[in-house]
């Protein structure tokens, strides 16, 4: 059995971190699937869906680490197009992941104690963001 849902989230952008663990748990629970997997797919090129502990210090650490690797204040050829100035966000998102898979065992997400499902939106402006949740199993 496969069940899918598209979720639209309002994001403030600019490294906004949105914990969607409860949303995903609710969808898995309502799917009736006891054993299988859930795939989460973030449909944008300036952010990511990740597993980490949503703690204030961790978020600042991630941002600082990405800033050291891929600084915002350098030249990006993407900016020559003149549409936007989010070159750093596009490159950063390639170092993260647009998709994660989590096992479902006996109706529960097999997350570790400190693992939370978090959207990290690095887009430079506030926009709705979409995410596909797909549960497969029996």
């Amino acid at each position: 059995m496969i069940k899918s849902k598209k979720i639209i989230l309002d994001s403030e952008g600019n490294f906004c971190s949105i914990n969607i663990s409860d949303l995903v748990k609710e969808f898995v629970s309502s799917s009736g699937i006891s054993n299988g997997t859930v795939i989460l797919f973030y449909q944008h090129t300036t952010g990511s869906v990740l597993l980490y502990e949503q703690e204030a210090g961790v978020i600042v650490d991630i941002q600082d680490a990405l800033d050291r690797l891929i600084p915002e204040n350098i030249e990006y050829l993407h900016h020559m197009r003149g549409v936007d100035k989010n070159g750093a966000s596009h490159v950063r998102s390639l170092f993260l992941t647009p998709s994660i898979t989590i096992p479902i065992i006996e109706g529960e997400l097999a997350l570790g104690k400190y693992q939370e499902i978090v959207i990290l939106d690095m887009q430079s402006e506030s926009k709705p963001r979409s995410l596909i949740i797909q549960v497969t199993g029996e």
Partner: protein, 207 residues
């Protein structure tokens, strides 16, 4: 011995929702992890709830009808509650905190609205009148970083002695960058755990 003696709360939707089960409907429409249809339903009826126009049952009946939802009002209520009200118990945590710390409230809502919210939430039980501030009355340039710098410069917050509790991760990041420790408010259990992990409250078994 820790030097922390102040804990600041940004009054926003997530915290309001945990203060009292009674207010979950009309204050959570800004919660960012709820999906669009739920947000629309909540937004539509927010003001009605605040001024007490609609009862809870009227709200759910109207919502299912207006939005042509193919579910019963009971199912809508359960769906909303499960999405926007993950845990209870913030009152217990606040009661525990107020015996150890000075609690301050920063309200994103203007005074008139906070008065209404306060009467529902019994906020004065935890926050004295002198410890309630309004972001709309604090001069800031619109950027979170400037907001905290302004709070520090006017003496409302002492970095190193304060913790900023907020459901908005951008605000907590800005707080940390301004030298003020911060906790992302997600629910009462996690709030208590984060405070206990800092050695400011005794750790419970599951922490």
């Amino acid at each position: 011995m820790s030097s922390i003696d102040h804990i600041y709360f940004a009054l926003n939707d997530a915290i309001c929702n945990s203060l009292s089960r009674e207010i979950i409907i009309f204050l959570n429409n800004q919660h960012r992890s709820i999906d669009t249809i739920v947000r629309q339903v909540l937004f539509k009826f927010e003001s009605d709830f605040i001024i007490g126009k609609n009862s809870k049952q009227e709200f759910f009946n109207s919502a299912t009808s207006i939005f042509n939802l193919d579910i019963t009002s009971d199912e809508l209520e359960n769906a909303i509650l499960s999405q926007i009200f993950p845990t209870h118990g913030i009152n217990q945590v606040l009661s525990e905190l107020q015996t150890h710390f000075s609690l301050t409230l920063f309200s994103q809502y203007p005074p008139e609205l906070l008065l209404q919210i306060s009467s529902i939430l019994n906020l004065n039980k935890y926050f004295s009148k002198n410890n309630i501030f309004y972001t709309c009355e604090i001069e800031f340039a619109g950027q979170p970083g400037d907001f905290f710098q302004n709070l520090i410069s006017i003496g409302k917050i002492q970095p190193g002695k304060s913790i900023w509790v907020d459901s908005n991760s951008k605000m907590t990041s800005s707080s940390i960058r301004a030298g003020i420790d911060a906790i992302i408010f997600q629910n009462s259990d996690k709030l208590r755990r984060e405070i206990a992990l800092r050695g400011l409250l005794p750790r419970l078994g599951n922490e």
